[in-house]
Symmetry: C2
């Protein structure tokens, strides 16, 4: 009964979670972004078990989010740095941090703020449509099925789309109208 893997789900959110959804992993990525790259420093900063940290870093390296670079030969020492894929994830973590500031943050105010070099101001990350630049409000967006969609574990109903879902419900006796 090992934990269900999301790797084979036809859902990019599930696949993202497969590589960064583990407990501790986003915080490890945060530390790497903040420039903590040495094993002992991350372990001390987070207070995480060393065996867990070891396993997480190895997984991140294997998945290509993190690179291991030698910075000393005598003694042999490596540091962990974010890869391109890992760096691409940082803005997402910032957006999640901003959500936390707004909805579950400490009353003392935000622990960390981000200054934007370009404009010199404290960043409030905003998620927008790349075409028109408008903020992505929930209701302003309609999900459409893409070429990778499947009705499989993890997307059994979602993978069908609303129309097929309604059909499937209607075909099952005793459902659809009463529920």
């Amino acid at each position: 009964m090992q934990r269900t893997s999301f790797a084979r789900m036809h859902c990019s959110l599930a696949r993202s979670l497969e590589v960064m959804g583990d407990w501790w992993t986003p915080l490890i990525l945060r530390d790497l972004y903040f420039g903590l790259g040495r094993f002992a420093d991350i372990a001390e900063d987070l207070g995480v078990s060393k065996n867990l940290l070891s396993a997480r870093l190895a997984a991140l390296v294997k998945r290509g989010l993190v690179e291991r670079r030698r910075y000393s030969e005598h003694p042999p020492r490596d540091r962990y740095v974010l890869s391109t894929a890992g760096r691409a994830l940082v803005p997402v973590l910032m957006a999640l941090t901003a959500w936390g500031d707004r909805w579950v943050g400490p009353s003392e105010g935000p622990p960390v703020r981000f200054e934007h070099r370009a404009c010199g101001r404290i960043v409030h990350p905003e998620i927008v449509c790349s075409h028109c630049g408008q903020p992505l409000e929930v209701d302003a967006v309609v999900p459409r099925s893409g070429p990778g969609r499947r009705s499989a574990p993890g997307t059994r109903l979602v993978g069908k789309g609303p129309r097929e879902r309604a059909d499937a419900a209607a075909r099952r006796p005793g459902r659809g109208t009463r529920g």
Copy 2:
């Protein structure tokens, strides 16, 4: 040895993870966003254990991300819907989905695409600075400490800022220069 809680960390990312960082939880939120609100439908869609789904939904309701609404009195039936806080998280999940499309997606292409009502085009979520509208590239941003910063478990080193971190390292004998 229960799993370490992130709730008391002085880090908004950690606090976000505390409420939505569990395995399955983001996928549950995804299903709620897609309009699957009934217990049995979510369970069937994801293939998740019902006891886990029950626990996750209860936690989400307690944390205020999800509301439980009665839609039938006879028989008594409730459906789960995203609250305002939960809806505010959806764009973040979209951004994470887009990251997955780009870096770990299936070769068949994206399973789901989002159409922006305002401009009628397929959305490519972009995370930008709310002031100047520029994309938040990793190097374009400098972390600054905010009022809620503490040097405590989870932010023991990060909570000090680079300057104090260097000082602390220098004060510990045998560190800082060699490492």
